[in-house]
Amino acid sequence: MMKIGICVFPGSNCDYDTYYIVKDILQEDAELIDYTVRDLERFDAVILPGGFSFGDYLRPGALASKTPLAEAIVNFAAKGRYVLGICNGFQILTELKLLPGALLPNENDRFICKRVNISVENISTAFTKELEEKETIVLPIAHHDGRFYAPEDVLEEIEKNNQVVFRYEGENPNGSLNSIAGVCNKTGNVVGMMPHPERISEDILGGLDGLKIWHSLIA
């Protein structure tokens, strides 16, 4: 059984949804981790859930990236353990510089909440190995700051290293460069994504595509 931690910052609001998926749907060992915690030794993986950590003050993810837990996650990732950031969690991981780029306000400056088609671009990461390359999955997005941005040279490197994990297919909802919806670090153990797999992992919620990401983690 895997020991999977779900990070809780003040203002996280997808923490219990994610905890529920890990504990009740995957039946793995789940534990909520407070943002003041410094020791992650007992975990195999940690998930940074969606929400509005620290009220999105300063910039989304900016203040959460300066907490003791965030510092511990940097060391945790350096050991090759698995880290997934969803939505605000992705924003925190870019602010932490564990992932390249930044997430800017959506091009239309509106909060966008809908289902989108996502193309799976890299199946060698810890969170996508049960998916097929170029497979299209349907996942919900719900964010105001999801426009992926990186300076030209960084963007080129991300593409060259195959660090794009997910791309919006068809319509680009928020103006992300190269339609990027998710990226990984160079070693593939850290992944960040704007869509919410925890919101689409049960039939009663209208789909199971999110499960493929969770099954990749525990496979």
């Binding site: 300066k66 800017l104 091009e107 400056d109 960084v154």
Partner: protein, 76 residues
């Protein structure tokens, strides 16, 4: 007793040149709609902050306050 000289500074933070600023664009559109002829409006933020040295101020701003990938700053 040593008294540290505390200074109060204003830090202006702006989205980097060339990065789309949707808030600025919305304000520009409203102003042009109202009959002004505006080419560009950009919206940033001001942080008013106390520091005991310019060195510490710079450290706080660069390590904790701005994201250098997307923002520039200026101390007033």
């Amino acid at each position: 007793m040593i008294y540290n000289k505390i200074m109060k500074k204003r830090v202006i933070i702006m989205p980097k040149e060339g990065i789309l600023d949707p808030q600025g664009r919305a304000l520009k559109d409203v102003l042009n709609e109202a009959g002004f002829d505006i080419k560009d409006v950009r919206i940033g933020k001001i942080v008013e902050i106390e520091a005991d040295s310019l060195e510490n101020l710079q450290k706080m701003v660069e390590d904790y306050i701005i994201n250098p990938l997307i923002e520039d700053y200026e101390v007033l």
